[in-house]
């Protein structure tokens, strides 16, 4: 059975988009395929790995587990929208400084989760950082430098 397309009006990285989508379209595919924002990755596709993490109305969410139609009216930030022009977000700069990545596949999700954590808990210690990263998997197992990078970002004056 054919199901009618539904309107979706969203603001992504400050730009408004008005379109219609199939109800079953996942937010991650809307971002990657409809908008061409391929920085948001699909890793496990089963809500485990966190590579698809974006900010939906300011909250870190797994965009493989949100329908695009559920995001109607929302403000979304992806990894492409985190830097301020040529100036990296403090979390991005800290990942670079502390070598918080190996292959880089999980990095967009790690950075988006970390940026959300520091918005909500600027004083996060190592225990809080590790608890916050439970939903982000790094298959290179480079967690030590990831945690170090987030700790460095947390210590930046803001």
């Amino acid at each position: 059975m054919e199901h009618p397309a539904r309107p979706v009006n969203v603001t992504v990285n400050g730009t408004s988009h008005a379109t219609e989508v199939e109800p079953r379209l996942l937010l991650v595919h809307f971002l990657r395929e409809n908008l061409g924002l391929t920085g948001t990755h699909v890793g496990c596709d089963t809500s485990q790995c966190g590579a698809c993490t974006v900010h939906l109305n300011g909250a870190a969410v797994k965009s493989c587990t949100v329908l695009a139609v559920q995001a109607d009216g929302a403000e979304i930030t992806t990894i492409e929208g985190l830097a301020d022009g040529a100036t990296l977000h403090p979390v991005q700069a800290a990942f670079q400084e502390e070598h918080g990545l190996q292959c880089g596949f999980c990095t967009p999700g790690m950075v988006m989760t970390a940026a959300y954590l520091l918005e909500t808990r600027p004083d996060a210690d190592d225990e809080a950082i590790k608890h916050a990263l439970e939903g982000n998997l790094c298959r290179c197992t480079g967690y030590v430098n990831i945690v170090k990078a987030i700790r460095t970002a947390a210590q930046q004056p803001r």
Binding site: R24, V69, L117, E134
Partner: protein, 287 residues
């Protein structure tokens, strides 16, 4: 992975939902945070014809105290529950439970009502809400009814909810006497779901004697399990380490846990006693 094709409705009121449920019957599924339903749809474990998104209906989320009852809207997220000062002060065991569900991103979307209505035997909230003697407000076009947690969870993924009803709120009684609450969980290392967990709600009198205990196990059956032998062993007693240890030993009485590839029956029985003890100790240690 894509879910099978479905129609999507985003009603703005409960009245509209009732109409849609009448129209679509069992072809429709209610969508709250979607963190149980959407993964199941992507795996094609379920293929509803229509999704009715409750996310745009005002008044279904929020936490408020109404006299001696704490009322939590069904669409309140786990993050909101775990961060709530009200919940942290009154029922720290509930805040602790919400803070160990899934992961941070899941807690930002997953809802209290969704978790309760889904009734996954590996879920956390049904265990704690049963220990807290919560009841669930089920609303329909005909009105509403409340069902106690003890009666709500019927079997694996099966509850007392009728197809035309919506779980709209969770009501938790706040006893006059100080009640100490806790949650202890052995999570599956990969999925984060419960292998075995225990929730405790202990009411103490001025002398420190336990005047009311509810101790509930998760992961040992299709529904949360009241460890009545443990509760009986605590009632009327001062909570010394010896009393707690002896009571916890009875936690596995009468359970018939299902074995899986991670935990066999004997292991789950042992963990039931261990986690019951940890939950009771944690509750007793609350100031």
């Amino acid at each position: 992975m894509h879910p099978a094709s479905f129609g999507y409705e985003a009603p703005a009121s409960l009245e509209e939902v009732f109409g849609l449920l009448r129209q679509h019957g069992e072809d429709a599924k209610l969508l709250a945070g979607g963190h149980s339903l959407l993964p199941a749809m992507k795996l094609r474990l379920t293929q509803p014809e229509v999704l009715i998104d409750l996310g745009r209906i005002p008044g279904l989320s929020g936490i408020r105290q109404d006299g001696d009852t704490l009322i939590i809207g069904a669409l309140t997220t786990h993050t909101e529950v775990s961060a709530s000062e009200t919940v942290r002060n009154l029922l720290p065991g509930l805040a602790d439970t919400a803070s160990v569900i899934g992961d941070l991103q899941v807690r930002n979307r997953g809802t209290m009502g969704g978790s309760v209505a889904h009734a996954d035997p590996g879920a956390d909230l049904p265990v704690t809400l049963t220990a807290l003697n919560a009841s669930f407000m089920l609303t329909s076009a005909e009105g509403g009814r409340t069902v106690a947690a003890d009666d709500f969870f019927v079997d694996f993924f099966t509850t007392a909810l009728e197809p035309h009803e919506i779980l709209t709120a969770i009501h938790i009684p706040l006893p006059a006497a100080p009640t100490r609450t806790s949650y202890a969980k052995l999570p599956h290392p990969a999925s984060g779901y419960v292998v075995v967990s225990a929730a405790a709600a202990l009411t103490l009198d001025g002398s420190g004697a336990c005047t009311g205990a509810r101790v509930v196990l998760g992961g040992v059956g299709g529904t949360p399990h009241r460890a009545t032998g443990t509760e009986t062993a605590l009632n009327g007693q001062a909570l010394t380490p010896e009393v707690i240890a002896a009571a916890a030993e009875r936690a596995a009485d009468g359970i018939d846990p299902h074995a899986d590839s991670y935990a066999d029956e004997e292991y789950k029985r042992h963990m039931a006693a261990v986690y019951a003890r940890r939950a009771i100790e944690a509750a007793a240690a609350r100031a």
